[in-house]
Structure formats: C-alpha cells, structure tokens
C-alpha cells in the first residue's frame, strides 16, 4: 500500500520532468528526420532495384523490385502520421501518392514517342507519377505481373518514375533539415523566434491535428470510399494488395508520434507530457491505438475483396479508429489546457 502511494523519486523533481521543448526537439530529431531519412533510403533502394530489373528483366528481379516497393511504402505511410509542413506546403504528397492511376493516359504515354526521361516525368500530371503508377507496372491488375510483360517502354518509364520519386523524397527530407525551409528548426523554435509557429501551443496543436487527420483519412476516406461505393478500384495500393498494410502503417505512424519513436529509438514524447498530468487519458490513448491497429488485422483478405466479404470487420475497424479520433479530441483539450507558450 505504501509503495503504491510512493512517487518515483525522479518524478518529484521538477528538473527531471519532460519539458515541452524537449518533446518538440525529439519530435524532429528522433522521429521526423529519421523517418524521412529512412524513406529516402528506401526510395533510393527501389530505384536501384528497378534499374537492375530494367537491365535483367527476370521474375526474380521483378520480385525484388516489388519487395522494394512494399518497403518504401512503410516509412511513407508511417510519415502520414505527421502530414504537415513541407509535405503539404510543397505538394509532395499529391505529386507522389495520387490514386487512382490514370491508366488510359498511361497507356497513351507508353504508346507515344515521349522519351520518358526524368525531366519528362516532371511534366506529367500527378496521377501518372509516384508510388501508384510504379505499383501498377510492377504488380499489374490483380497483382499478376510477369516480367515478360514489361517491355522497354514500361521499364524506361518506371526507371524514371522511381528516380523522380527518389528526388522528390530527397527534397522532402531536406526541407525539414536544411535551409532555406529548415522546417525542423521552425518547429523547435515555436514561440521563440519561429516564423511559422507564434506559440508552442500552435506547434502542439499542429502535431495533434495531424494525428486526428490521419485517423479521419483512414477511417472515413481510404476505407470508407471504396466500401460505400462497392468499388475496389478506389482502394489505395490496389495492385499490390497493400491497402490494409498501408492503413496499419498510418496508425503506427500516429503511434510513433505519440510515443516519439522510430526505428528502435525513443525520445521525449506527448505520452510523457500526458502521463505526468492525466494518466487515465494516457492509458486510454495507448489502449485505443492498440485496439485500432488490432482491428485492422482482422481483415484477412485484401481490402478490395474485404469491401464485399468482410464489411462487418471493416465497419468495426472504422469505429475503433473513430474512437481513437475521439480520444485525440481529448488530447487536443489537454494541449489547450497544459501546453505553455
């Protein structure tokens, strides 16, 4: 009983409390920058795998490129847990992650004499650039692509597409770490010289708002649109059958934000701030993140099929993600109440 009442000695000292500044510092140092660095490394690896495939077009090399494509989706979808800053300001998101793919236009493009260099890719509309046209060509409709179906034009196109993706992702990463944008610095200096965030509270509002946004996006757009329209062509990552993995990584990305962690490293976090002042809210958020992620695991067929055969599980999962959203509303109130400027 006595021990139950005893505080941890560390917690009793104000100097050992996690500060808002430490949370903002670590948000960029421990999570965002490593996440985008990982994304860039994986985008580069995808480009290299596709160059190899282009040189020697075998099913083995095709499979390796498909694995590389799935690998780059992980840090990208996780980074959607903090979809603000350069990724929005400079439209990196729509220019790399638009779907559905404009397949009629894509076929015309391949049939044309367009040289399909990286410079030509820059000029294309969003629905012909980024992850999903690469996915369309690597996996094919229904995920049935055979290497023999990839001709010189297709290969030239995906080599340039993946080089373009690599380049865009590199810009995205650098915009957080380097001038002229140096967005990490804007966030870290919130309320203390930042031109983007006049108060620290603004910075925290933005972080929590992005967490809410991804819940809303997953439950009420990515899952909902194909479900209510009974249309598997509205499913994200439909060719690789990667949608449920994408959704899960979105929520994992949100979890990474809450705990400030990436690739095995953990920093001072929102969780630290909340648990110090409102343990029940902290417990509720932690538990609901787990429940939301687990609910997605109940979809055990690809999402394009699940919208016809597992509607109950989808609706349950949407409800759990929306409940998480409700918890994040409370987190928003916590920010208003406790974050000092």
């Amino acid at each position: 009983m006595v021990s139950g009442c005893k505080k941890k000695s560390d917690d009793s000292s104000p100097t050992s409390e996690v500060t808002e500044q430490q949370v903002l510092d670590d948000f960029t140092n421990v999570l965002v920058n490593p996440n985008y660095a990982d994304l860039q490394a994986k985008a580069n690896a995808l480009n290299q795998a596709i160059v190899v495939l282009s040189g020697t077009t075998t099913n083995t090399n095709l499979y390796a490129a498909q694995v590389a494509w799935r690998a780059v989706r992980v840090p990208w979808e996780q980074s959607e847990g903090f979809l603000f800053g350069p990724v929005e300001d400079f439209n990196y998101d729509p220019s790399t992650d638009s779907w559905p793919v404009n397949t009629v236009e894509l076929d015309s493009l391949l049939a044309s004499t367009n040289p399909l260099t990286e410079a030509d890719i820059e000029l294309l509309q969003d629905a012909l650039k980024g992850y999903h046209p690469i996915e369309y060509l690597l996996f094919g409709v229904g995920g049935t692509r055979d290497a023999s179906e990839l001709g010189a034009r297709e290969l030239q196109y995906i080599v340039s597409l993946s080089a373009n993706l690599d380049s865009v992702v590199n810009h995205l990463k650098n915009d957080w770490t380097s001038p002229p944008v140096n967005y990490a610095n804007e966030l870290r200096t919130a309320g203390h010289g930042s031109t983007r965030f006049t108060t620290r509270k603004d910075a925290f509002r933005t972080i929590v708002d992005a967490m809410e946004h991804i819940c809303n996006e997953v439950a009420n757009a990515k899952m909902q649109d194909p479900l209510i329209e009974h249309d598997s062509e509205k499913v994200e990552s439909q060719y690789a059958h990667n949608a449920t993995i994408d959704f899960t990584n979105n929520i994992v990305g949100l979890q990474n934000v809450y705990f400030c962690r990436y690739a095995g490293h953990t920093g001072n976090s929102l969780h630290d701030l909340v648990s110090a002042k409102n343990a029940s809210l902290d417990n509720a958020i932690q538990a609901q993140i787990e429940v939301a992620i687990a609910s997605l695991q109940n979809l055990d067929v690809n999402y394009g099929l699940a919208i016809f055969t597992q509607q109950g599980q989808i609706i349950t999962s949407q409800q759990q993600i929306n409940l998480l959203h409700d918890n994040l509303d409370l987190l928003k109130q916590f920010v208003e109440q406790y974050i000092n400027d």
């Binding site: 779907w99 559905p100 009629v104 236009e105 629905a127 509002r205 757009a221 062509e233």
Partner: protein, 458 residues
Amino acid sequence: MRKFFILVSVFGFMLLLSQCRKPEPFDEAQYDERMSGGTQTSFDGTARAFTHEFEGLGEYDSYLHAVGDAGFEAGFLTAPATRNSGLGPAFNNVSCVSCHHGDGIGVPTAGESQSSLLMRISFPGVDEHGGAMPVPGYGTQIQDKAIFGKLPEAKVNINYTYQQHSFADGETYELRVPTYTLTELDTQINGNYMLSPRLAPPVFGLGLLESIPEEQIVALADVNDANHDGISGKPNYVWNPYKGRKEIGRFGLKLNTASILVQVAAAFNNDIGITSYVFKHETSQDQPHQSDGYADDPEISDSILNAVSFYMQTLQVPARRNVTDPQVIHGKQIFKDAKCASCHNTNFTTAVNMAFPALSNQRIHPYTDMLLHDMGQGLADNRPDFDADGNEWRTTPLWGVGLFEAVNYPAYYLHDGRARTLIEAIMWHGGEAQQSKEYVEDLSKEDRDALIKFLRSL
C-alpha cells in the same frame, strides 16, 4: 383600497410598456466578434483551419458532406475510365483540391500540376446574356493542359518586374508587377483579345455568403457615390444558366456567378473538362480536333455534382484569434480610420431559412460588402464581366486571411497572387481605395504593424 388601485395602475402601465416594446438586437458589444461565421465558426488555427464541416448537420447531411469532400479531392481521369472519367480533353487541373489546396488559396503559377492560376479570355463586346464575349476556339477560359494526344489551348506565361516604393517614414517595400502573355496558341486568334488572371480563392464560408439577403447587399451599394465619400460599390447582375435568368452575382473575383451550384459546375466544366447537368457540353465542343470522341456527357453524375456543391456550402469559417490583444485592438481602429471597413464590411445577417437551420439567421463577419469597386489601373484587368468594368473587382472577404500562411504556405494575396504579404496587398489598392492606401502609406511603423496584426487575427 387606494394602495390597491395604485398597484393595479402601476402593473397595468408596466404591462402596457412591455407590450409596446419590440424585441431589439443586442448592442454591438454583446456579440462575440470571434464568431466570424456565426454558429458555423471553427476554432482551429492550424493547416486544416478551412476544412471543417458545419456543426449540427443531420446524419444524412453529414454523409452528403463527406461524399462531396471525396468529389472535391477526386482526381479525374482520361476517358474511358471506370472511375472519375472524362478529364479534359483540355483542362487546367485534374481535381478541385489541386488548385484549392486545403480548401484554401492556390499557387500563382500556370501549367504545372499544382498550379492554381487560370486565364480568362474574351473579345470586346458582350454575349447574348451580357457576359464576356467568347473567343472562337477558346471560349472564355484558356485551358493550358490537355490529355495525351490533344493540345493545350495555349501556354500562359507569367513575368514579374519589381518596383521599389517607400512609406512616409522611409521604410521601403517592393511590389511585383505581373505581365501575362499567351504563346503556343492552338488556334489562331483573329482580333484583339482581353486576358484576366484568376488565382483559386479559398472555399470556406460560401454557404453563408450565398445566404446573405440580396437587399442587404444592395443597401450597401452606392453606385453614383451619392454620399461623396469617394467609394461607390456596385452589385453585379449576372446570367444564371441553370435558372435561365439574371441574378445578383455572389461568387467569382468579379462576382460573375450567382450561386455555388453554378460556380462548382462551371469549375468542373472549365477547369477540369467535366460536363454536368448544368453545363452539358465540353468547352472545346467548337474545336472538333480537340474532341475525345466519347458521347459520355454528362461526365459527372447529378448526385456527385450536388454533393460537391453541398460540401462547398457547408465549410465552417475560422474564428478570429487574439481579439483582446491591445495591438490587435489598435489595428482594428486603424482599419476603421483608414476606411478599409467602408468596403470590407464587417457584418451581415443571413436570411432566415427554416429548411437549413445551420445557414439561417447567422450574424457573420465576412469583411466584404459583396460589391464591385474600382481598384485602380494598377490592378485593372481591363476585361469587363457582366456589369463589372475593367477596373472593378469584388471586395475580397477577409475572414480567414490571417490563416493563409498557416494553410497555404507561402501565402499569396489579391486576384492573381501578385502580393506576397498582406502589406503588399494593401499597397496595391488604388481607385476607390486610393485614399485608404495613402492613409496606410503615412502611418508610423508601429501603426502599420498593428494594422497587419489585426488582419492576421482575421
């Protein structure tokens, strides 16, 4: 007994008084000035400040809003596609959100995938409804992109020159002056044509603006400047192609559109190349070489068009911030003293609408009079549009203007995004606003900063 009579008389008199007393609106100080959109005000100053759905919508209306949201974000595809089919053949962009990023303003570039500046074109004269005279082969808008195998109508070139100016206290500022030219024309144009650039404006609060009673707008008009304050203010009366009649213009940077439905349908048609029940034909229908050969009109279903229109109607207005900050209060006074508020009118009350309570009887603060004003030669497009002459633009609603940087960084201002800061936007004012601009020019640095801080609180 006497006491009784006195009491009865007093109560009787009070009763009489209370019966004569009409209900009166609150005194100005009783209202919360933060509530820019009345009860449809959102308290979010982040990058998603403009994206919030109306409070209190029923379950079905909320669903309709979500369907409209999806339609707003949907990227249209080259026909024949099983989904979102019918892009172009000539177009400006592939989706609504490609220009109205985050339901906010766009980027003043042309021809790129995230470009949000479009170019209107016309010949001198008017069409059969009093609107701009179309240019054969182009209509009234340049589509500067096209599906594969078709040609963009033209390339829009934007060039800036830079002018240095200074305030009375010696501090300098720079204005960038755009010039617009067309090259790579798809069809030869015989005659002198007029161009007018338009940057995609924010799309929140439109339902409230549509609900302002026409008589409130007309009451603010002073076409012949009868009060001699140097400011006129003129409504635009425009053709509503859906209703088949002339109505007061409420939308568009020259108020050339009467309703949200027509605005949305016109944007689908002109900007994305999507036909609908309102605009049944491709804009390129008089250019046989530009036809995609598909008899697929209307390309968007009535229900999706209506849902996107409903989505536009039901986006909340962001609340004002820092209203008790002394510098903001000081800036607000300067805004009045400089006569900015003569056009950027603070208050309207929307019409009573029993069928749509969320829009009904709302006291809103849009900072516009919904009228046209001569803005001087510096801003003039010299291209009439219904009753708007070549010098006239609508008064831009300033609600939310303080959040442009939060939502669309870097932010751009004015009809074509030439202004990169709020102070530049002010210093571009001329014509009826010349006296206001000169007032600001003479302000001290401290007062100028207060004015900007006030604008940033909107």
